[in-house]
Symmetry: D2
Subunit: 326 residues, 4 copies
Amino acid sequence: MNQSKTYTFGILTSGGDAPGMNSCIRAAVRMATFRDARMVGISNGFEGLINGEFRPLGPRDVGGILQRGGTMLQTRRSDRFREPKGQREAIRNINEAGIDGLVVIGGDGSLRGAHTLAGQGVRVVGVPASIDNDIWGTNMSIGVDTALNTIMEAVDKLRDTASSHARAFLVETMGRGSGYLAMMAGIVCGAEMVLVPEVQLTVEDIAEAVEDAYRRGKTHAIIVVAEGASPRAADLAKMLDDMDIGFSTRVTILGHIQRGGSPTAFDRMLAARMGARAIDALIEGQSDVMTALQGRTIELLPLEEVIANLRPADLEYYHMAKMLAR
Amino acid sequence: MNQSKTYTFGILTSGGDAPGMNSCIRAAVRMATFRDARMVGISNGFEGLINGEFRPLGPRDVGGILQRGGTMLQTRRSDRFREPKGQREAIRNINEAGIDGLVVIGGDGSLRGAHTLAGQGVRVVGVPASIDNDIWGTNMSIGVDTALNTIMEAVDKLRDTASSHARAFLVETMGRGSGYLAMMAGIVCGAEMVLVPEVQLTVEDIAEAVEDAYRRGKTHAIIVVAEGASPRAADLAKMLDDMDIGFSTRVTILGHIQRGGSPTAFDRMLAARMGARAIDALIEGQSDVMTALQGRTIELLPLEEVIANLRPADLEYYHMAKMLAR
Amino acid sequence: MNQSKTYTFGILTSGGDAPGMNSCIRAAVRMATFRDARMVGISNGFEGLINGEFRPLGPRDVGGILQRGGTMLQTRRSDRFREPKGQREAIRNINEAGIDGLVVIGGDGSLRGAHTLAGQGVRVVGVPASIDNDIWGTNMSIGVDTALNTIMEAVDKLRDTASSHARAFLVETMGRGSGYLAMMAGIVCGAEMVLVPEVQLTVEDIAEAVEDAYRRGKTHAIIVVAEGASPRAADLAKMLDDMDIGFSTRVTILGHIQRGGSPTAFDRMLAARMGARAIDALIEGQSDVMTALQGRTIELLPLEEVIANLRPADLEYYHMAKMLAR
Amino acid sequence: MNQSKTYTFGILTSGGDAPGMNSCIRAAVRMATFRDARMVGISNGFEGLINGEFRPLGPRDVGGILQRGGTMLQTRRSDRFREPKGQREAIRNINEAGIDGLVVIGGDGSLRGAHTLAGQGVRVVGVPASIDNDIWGTNMSIGVDTALNTIMEAVDKLRDTASSHARAFLVETMGRGSGYLAMMAGIVCGAEMVLVPEVQLTVEDIAEAVEDAYRRGKTHAIIVVAEGASPRAADLAKMLDDMDIGFSTRVTILGHIQRGGSPTAFDRMLAARMGARAIDALIEGQSDVMTALQGRTIELLPLEEVIANLRPADLEYYHMAKMLAR
């Protein structure tokens, strides 16, 4: 892009929120200031883009948000943005506000939305944020590390109390389509078993494995169950209770606490690097790309590629969890 | 008791475990040492008393347990102790081990067991430990403060994410017979509503209150639901989702993570004071009493009185939670 | 006061900030709304009172502050308020704004300021907030419990690493005039020694006690040192290193992190109760009093009495820390 | 190595301890069991190797250590191991115990010790653990992520209280030779300034930068100072207080709390992967190598190369911290 011009860039967060989004907004705004560009914050995701919920964001406006969960720009679902009419309104608002490029922070659906805008001539850079770590092309998405630590701290507390009772504790984590969080939690918490959508087990298999742990002398069993595993944790607990496996079951459903909390150092750093890189990419004239962590560096990948591919399951972690549980 | 004799005291933990039990064991052992008494640790509660699971505990044996959740002596249910036969065996073991007095740390059922032993001539001091704070006569039981902070930290995370969506978050806390934790959590977390066993509401009442919050412009609603409230959180969520209240619902069930975790300063201090006081009470010749926090001091109350009375519901906190939610 | 009138009350925070101040502001504002009174927030303490930094505070203005450390109204030192001229300006501003009563949240100096205003005809209720717990008449001041837990979590981390080295760790806590935090921390952290301004020890005494712990086989020693102890932690470490006591020393100075952090459940609850009580006291026509926790209830004490008395040192805790360290 | 033989491997931790060492020990032991090998735990590092402080470690011996800071095998400095005589005794003990290979977990000095043993015919694999992240060849060492989060949580607390006062807070972090932790902390905490050994600034430069922040209207300044920066934090504070820079200074010295604490998910995972890889490397017949995180994979690097190279300073993070502080 033209280095002598003063650019104006927009930024929005979309989809399920993820810890670290604020750190990303802050870095983008500060980097833009550093590059003599102006920033416009767009509230409520694509819905706010259609409604024209715009406001200027200067370096002082993003002070004190670094340690906050959630997103200062809010997110919202937008059915209207799925229709050509909504997209047209969004693009008209972008043009009227003199926005030269857009940073879209969010998960898979948000990146699809970003790609749609790029296809209609808007300069867009996507930033992956999704606690499920289900986005193709980046080692880690913003929010994953915080969510994993939240799960871990909860399971650590369970383990304190677990050792005094012959009990099987079932802990349901997020992850409808991806068992990433559950598998990683299994390893870092030392769970006795992990149930994920990627690996189908019968209730009989599960019962036998738990019973076997009981016979080997384990005083308790912690089972991490991804939301997308079948059956779900609450139903599985009832089935196991009917099967006399040695342990009685107790259920914890973590739910949305996994989306909240002050972001970890890792998430703040990843978000800061991606936010800063997104602004530089826009200034370099890039569009229709996503920032991606590959090894130690932040690369740019075509959004088309990102949304066309499914992130493969990291089943090595599934096997590692199993091996370490012995 | 006789000051020139070297006493031997036993200590056990019983019932659901509570953070701070270890701090209480440590203080009792160190105080006994200070008073030139010997301590015997009894594993697995009354069941261990029947089985003779005894071991000497010196000051070094209780080093490094202060910050640990759970109990180093384990707890277990004991059906055998409900029968005269089991009680006889327990008492024979106490006598054979030369135990001059017993410290029993636990909840309501454990204190009843302690009173039973006292009625048969065993010198016993009870220490109240129960995260539900449902024991009569003491302002606070060991474990309550930690459990409340655990709930609070979980709800704080929910609030981060809550503000971005028109959602009602239902959080189920422990408390089958008592809404204490839920009411207190409602105040310290700023919940929009609290549901407890002590106050019966119809689903229609609840739906109306949530809808009203929606109409007044609240962007979300956090509802803390005690385990003993009717209907339970998961069922209530389904009912509300069928009723079109403006918000869609999400459920978190905290479960046994409320029993774990490193104890707070308050619980460590309360446990230390009660553990030390229990030993002094035994040396003074007291029996069939419980240590109780009243104001700033640790008093001794007859166990008979403790177990004969139901702790009244602190409904002033229910009203306070309501008033502050406006 | 007159029940049919719509009252307007002001609220300010002053002195060193303490976790829980926001919870107190929130409760006062919500209680005022509940009682049909209006609230005015005064920024920057007495300095803001002189400058007229006033703004209306409604129930929505205090949403989302419950979990935040610090104070949304800020605090500041005010030399001008010590002079009659400053006080006159403050009172004129109070009258011009139609303020019928004032809630002053802060420590000893702030309560003196509140008493001064009351002496000149302003209706004032003080609320004790000071992490040092050095205010006479209330069992606990707002912020103490959070500060104590912050210290405890830091020392717990030290203990993890301490056991691998023959080291003495000196941890300096706040408390220039009061050893309260250091003594309590000594108990809840299981420190080997506590140094407080209330008990004078020579460096030789200290060295001997540490050396004795070394000889008894302790692998490490944690020494909690109040800021007001003599010598201070950093100087003491140098002296001990010159004395060959078996351990080498390492120093941690916690500093102002003790004033920050999200308030604990205890502090949020204490602050909520005191904030609500302060508003009710003003409506009842009370003035020149402080809310005080006595046992389980919030009482009102004359400010004159509060500031005329020194809180006695809780030396029983000093002895308890010593006894439990064996 | 010979796949039909039952191998015996030793494991020790050495140098300054780092959170995650226990997770690494656990993974190595469980992986060895999985591969039908035996494990021997060596206490107190190289000193224990000389003294023959050996004990068998089975899968149950490493249960429940995952969440603990410190190291279950302890560490100690060993002057004797620097001498040929000490090394000879160590090697004789290794041979007498039938140890076929050794896992050495520790920092730079420990890896040098490992290389020395390898040079004398002992099969050794090193695992990098050092909160300073000062080891060449691996993106991250075990313990860094936990230490960084510990610093971050402390500074987050400071920021709560900082905004109410015109103060400059100086926070000293570990890092005698490396400013890594300080630079990363500067970014994730949003510090106004970072002082590291790699970049020399005069006190005048520092004072001017702080004064400039004051003039630009910053209400406070947080300055992260690595232990190896000159002057050190406590001295710098005194100098700044003498220079009238608009802010008064307050000092926090974090000290050894940075070495403790329950390891983060990242550290537990990194440690688990490295511990498992170290065992596999020994079985594959590798020696004189270190496990290294490169991108997403764990590689093996020659120890000779690791100890011959200095990790270059990541000054891009220094500049990023500066840019984001605006």
